[in-house]
Structures are given as structure tokens and as C-alpha cells.
Amino acid sequence: MARKSKGRQKVEMVKMANESNLQVTFSKRRSGLFKKASELCTLCGAEVGIIVFSPGRKVFSFGHPSVEAVIDRFLSRNPSNHHLHPTSGTMQLIEAHRNATVRELNTELTQVMNQLEVEKKRGDQLNQMKRVSQAQCWWEGPVDEMEMPQLDQLKSSLEDLKKNVSKQADRVLILNTTNPSSHYFVGSSSHQPVIPNVGFNGNHHVMPPHPLPHLDGWNHPAYGHFF
């Protein structure tokens, strides 16, 4: 079976032939290299310095505690261990603070990555559901493959639905006006997403990132239950 990418496949250790593949490979591998270096530093308390020149003659560098510090340490070749145990109290404080920040950032990164994985899984699930329903319902399929009678039907059904949506929106609006504890201001929700969820038509609304209730067979909400 043809693979989309060369992951988990053996790659020959020679300069890559294809120019653009080479660029992509450089970009990906450089990023991966820095990631590994960062992990080594966090996990084992190592000090690392890496310098890489790009195919485009730019230079990338990674260093912990900093590129300069590692280079200086190397060039000075000081046999003493003073880099391992900063003698000055201030230096110790600075380093402690820096380590704490790195710890926090690592935690944050892990959180975001986990959320990303959840969303990806949800996306796959939704794709699967769409495949299933497209097999059963012609109207969910591509419009480009439909003929006139189907288009007419679908169009009028959608127009009716649109009217219903409008009516419901009016109802919601009225309910909100008469009910001052406006449930639909999501901002007060305790489950704030890490980033605001943008309504995909470009309006900025903060939305809880969980699936719409009735799709999951939740009990039909009393109006405010959604949040």
C-alpha cells in the first residue's frame, strides 16, 4: 500500500534529491530536533546548544539556558563546575524562576495538545457519521451531483427550515428580553475554553467547545441547560 509520507519507513542517509522535499524535511526535522533537545533539558537537567544552518543560509539555534551561555561555556573551557551550581544567590533565583516558567509552559503545552487530540478525534467521528448518513440520504451528498427535481425539493425544504430557524431566533430573543438572567451569554460559563471559539461565520462568540446537546441525545434542555 502506498504511504502518504515516509514515516516509520527507512530513509537513505544521503542528501535529498528533491529540492522542495529537502526544504520541507529541513523544516520538520529542525523543529523535531529542537523539541527533543528541549525534552532532554527538562527531563534530565542538561544544558544544550544546537546550531543549524538552513538550506537558505539562515541560521537556527536552540540553547538552554541560552545559546550564548552554552557557547561561552564551551569556548571558555573552564574546568570548574561553576556552571552547574551558580554561586551567586541572584543567579540561583533567576534560574529557579526560569525553571518554574518552563515547567508552567510545558504543562500548558501538554494541555493544549490534549485538547487538540480530543478535537481531532471528534473530527474523525463527525467525518465517519457524515459518511454513513451520506450513504443513506441523497440530500446530504454533493449538490453538484444532483439533478433539477432534487435541487428543487432540497431548496424548498431548506427555505422552510430557514423560516423556522428565524422564528426560533425571534422566540429566543423575546425570551431573553423578558428573562433578565440571560443564559445565552456564555462568557459566564465556568468551562472557559483555552481560546475563544469563533462562530464559523466569522462572528466572534465565546462558545463552550462541547458538542451541541441534542446531537448527543442529551435530555432536551430547559433553556439554560446548554451552558
Binding site: L22, T25, K35, N106, L126, W139, D144, A169
Partner: protein, 255 residues
């Protein structure tokens, strides 16, 4: 490839930490080497362990010095432009991950909303549970779909006028059949969507399911006599509409 996900915190167990360090340092050197070879670029790595004052170097002490020298000849700005430490590198990665997360959420929301739209068409989905934001987005999505339909209709009409195929005779009966009925079942469809009573829906549902589960080829056989090979499956927006469709398909309505 690790079997278990490694937690990104300092390893407190001394021997575990030392073992990890040895493994990972080796792996890192390998990765630098590969990057340098595959992409034909200059690179160097300096790794200080907590256990040794002497660093491990790649490609070699001399090689490192060469690359450092080359590095230092570059203008200060060029050196620092792509320079990162753990903190800045992590911030970059977090930013990128957040971007991807936002994008994925947006995609998922559109997919979910599309599902809601199609389920509503079938009278399966209540609009009551939707917030104002949801309703807005749903409305927008419906508009997008309507636009697509109009485009497709336009294309078809253009094709028709180009190829001069007379579709009029066969489409007219369709229109005639649906127009008088539309008024009636639209109301019922309306009620279907807005009826809070689940009982009403439950009655209709099995009916829908029956209609919807009619296998494709069965219907096509029925249609074969009609000519043009249209796939006239039902769009069960309302129960009665299904019934009507079923009636047409069985009748010898078409010449």
C-alpha cells in the same frame, strides 16, 4: 516510539534520569547527524550533562568550533532572529498548537452544524436546544447551501440551453404534482419541527425510517420507466410529502 507517553517533568529518580539522559543524548546526536546529511547543511551540537563537566559534541570538537566561527561571523541580528531557548521555543509551540486547535474546533463546529441542519430537515432535530449563536450560524449555513444549490441550478440551465435538450415536458409534471401539495405539507412540516410533543414525532419517525430505508436500486427500478434516469428519492421533510412521493413513483404518471 514510546509505548507510554512521557511526562515532561524533571526525572527525580537518579538512575532513571541518568539512563534517560544517556539514551536521549544518543538519539539527539543521531538526529543532528541525519538533519545535516539529508539536507546538506552545517550544524553542531553541544550537550553538557549534570554528571560531567566535559560536553558531548557533534560532529567533533573541531567541527563544532568551525560551525561556531561561522555562526559568529553572521550579523548579530541574523544570529538572534531564529534563536530560541526553552521558554521561547515552548511559547512558539503553544501558539502553533492553539492555532491548530482553533482551526479544528471551527471545522468541527461547522460539521456539527451541518448535521443539525440535515437532521432538522428530517424533522429529527429540535431547534429549541440551540442558542442564539447556534441559530445564527445555522441560518448562515443554510444560506451557504442555498447558494450552492442556486449555482448548480444555474449550471444545469446553462447546460440545457447549450445542448438544447427539451426537459420541459418531463419537469412540468413534477412541478404540477408538488405545487398543490406543498401548501398542505409545509404546514405539517412546520408543525413537525416545532412540535414539542415527542409523541407526534415518534409516530412519524417509523414512517420516515421506512421511506428512507427503501434501497436505492428498488427505487431506481421504479423510476426506470420514467426516463431521464432521475433519482427521485424522497426528501422526507414531512410525512405526507413522503407519501406523495411514493404515490408518484408508483403511478404511471409519466408517458
Amino acid at each position: 516510539m514510546t509505548r507510554t507517553k512521557v511526562k515532561l517533568t524533571y526525572i527525580s529518580n537518579d538512575s532513571a534520569r541518568k539512563a534517560t539522559f544517556k539514551k536521549r543524548r544518543k538519539g539527539l546526536m543521531k538526529k543532528v547527524s541525519e538533519l545535516s546529511t539529508l539536507c546538506d547543511v552545517q550544524a553542531c551540537a553541544i550537550i553538557y550533562s549534570p554528571y560531567d563537566s566535559q560536553p558531548e559534541l557533534w560532529p567533533s570538537p573541531l567541527g563544532v568550533q568551525r560551525v561556531l566561527a561561522q555562526f559568529k561571523t553572521m550579523p548579530e541580528m541574523e544570529q538572534s532572529k531564529k534563536m530560541v531557548n526553552q521558554e521561547s521555543f515552548l511559547r512558539q509551540r503553544i501558539a502553533k498548537a492553539n492555532e491548530q486547535l482553533k482551526k479544528q474546533r471551527k471545522e468541527n463546529r461547522e460539521k456539527e452544524m451541518t448535521r443539525v441542519m440535515f437532521q432538522s430537515l428530517m424533522g429529527k432535530s429540535q431547534l429549541h436546544g440551540l442558542s442564539m449563536v447556534d441559530l445564527n450560524d445555522l441560518g448562515w449555513l443554510i444560506d451557504q447551501n442555498l447558494k450552492e444549490i442556486d449555482n448548480r441550478m444555474k449550471n444545469l440551465n446553462e447546460q440545457d440551453s447549450k445542448s438544447q435538450v427539451q426537459l420541459q415536458p418531463t419537469t412540468l409534471p413534477v412541478a404540477a404534482a408538488t405545487v398543490p401539495e406543498r401548501g398542505v405539507e409545509r404546514q405539517q412540516g412546520f408543525e413537525l419541527n416545532n412540535n414539542v410533543g415527542m409523541a407526534v414525532q415518534r409516530q412519524q419517525q417509523p414512517f420516515f425510517m421506512d421511506m428512507m430505508n427503501v434501497p436505492q436500486d428498488h427505487q431506481q427500478q421504479q423510476m426506470a420507466g420514467i426516463g431521464g434516469g432521475y433519482e427521485m428519492n424522497m426528501l422526507p421533510f414531512a410525512a405526507d410529502q413522503c407519501q406523495i412521493n411514493a404515490i408518484w413513483s408508483n403511478s404511471s404518471f409519466y408517458p
